[in-house]
Symmetry: C2
Subunit: 208 residues, 2 copies
């Protein structure tokens, strides 16, 4: 997605960018990192695009340019540390009968290194802001679990995706936000063994 630096970018960033970091992947990442911190601290509603851009040393106009606005930036900030395509690829890479376990393992491998990171911020946003709830709904239920369920030929695919989302969101809540012991400090494989079968049943088992 990176473009060669040009002397005449369509939005004239060349002039406004003077004295700031060069545009490109690095600056984009700085913006996403600053957004992560701002959303974590203030939630979706109170987070300010201008503050985020300032913290990243980027012109606020670049937020629209790169992310289409605050919503897109929020999505990008939550989309970490690996992207959805990579998450899906990891989960689908193996025997279908162990997909549930791989969902738990992948989820923990993404969030454990940042101790849940923006998970609390995400929940704060979701619980106070319909737009954030919609984004999570679209992202988690449709783009992630919807596509996973679609790889099986199960009945009630939407209910299955929603059930998976409920357990995974609950796992994140219990481990990173409420921090219920011993779940909060359990080894990942303990949770893979405990919760994997739940997700496997939600994906392919009998729900009636």
């Amino acid at each position: 997605m990176s473009r060669p630096t040009s002397a005449r970018e369509p939005d004239g960033q060349r002039i406004r960018r003077r004295g700031r970091r060069p545009a490109g992947q690095q600056t984009k990442e700085a913006l996403v990192e600053a957004a992560r911190a701002e959303f974590a601290e203030r939630g979706f509603d109170q987070a300010r695009v201008r503050s985020i851009a300032t913290a990243a040393g980027v012109d606020p106009a670049m937020v629209n340019h790169w992310f289409g606005g605050k919503d897109g930036l929020f999505m990008a900030a939550m989309d970490l540390p690996i992207d959805l395509g990579e998450v899906l690829a990891r989960i689908l890479d193996g025997a279908p009968a162990h997909t549930g376990e791989r969902i738990v393992r992948t989820f923990l491998s993404v969030w454990d290194p940042v101790s849940g990171g923006p998970f609390a911020a995400l929940l704060r946003s979701v619980s106070s802001h319909e737009q954030a709830a919609m984004l999570v709904r679209e992202f988690v239920a449709e783009r992630l679990f919807g596509r996973l369920v679609a790889t099986f030929d199960s009945d009630q695919p939407k209910l299955r995706a929603a059930l998976c989302a409920s357990q995974v969101v609950g796992l994140g809540m219990a481990r990173y936000v409420i921090r219920v012991e011993p779940l909060a400090s359990a080894k990942p494989e303990t949770l893979v063994t405990a919760i994997g079968p739940t997700l496997q049943r939600y994906l392919t088992g009998d729900l009636s």
Copy 2:
């Protein structure tokens, strides 16, 4: 717990109470209701005991008198619409093999009538406030699921209680806060059938 009204209450409420509602269960409930609204609107941190008391037409000192302060009031506000003892009694009333189903049914019977009610507020508080997280931890994981698990003779009782909490909290998130369809508008019995076995396995199944 109600006391007969006395002409000389230890804290002298009789005089300060003049022109306000009489002390007693009714006023206590008004306070809890006002607290519920305030916590729902502002979250734990921003909620003000003084505002709650004013809304309920009660002297703020009564909050300490009855609930020991803001934390206790929060507990009382979240403890609704039926108390923990009643919840436990409902869940335990039946065949042990269907305890998981009764957990889901009871959870929905408590929260569905208020459309999740303070659930979003609770999460907002939990995600921004360690004290609120601690309260939920104590309330949900220890007092509720800890006691349920203790009625079975299972290994790893604390992990089991935490796993139950993770699925139930996730169910509340998905149904009332994120509102993932079709889970958000599914009939209770659909969710009882779908999620009951998950909880049953967390209570008594093989987790290794």
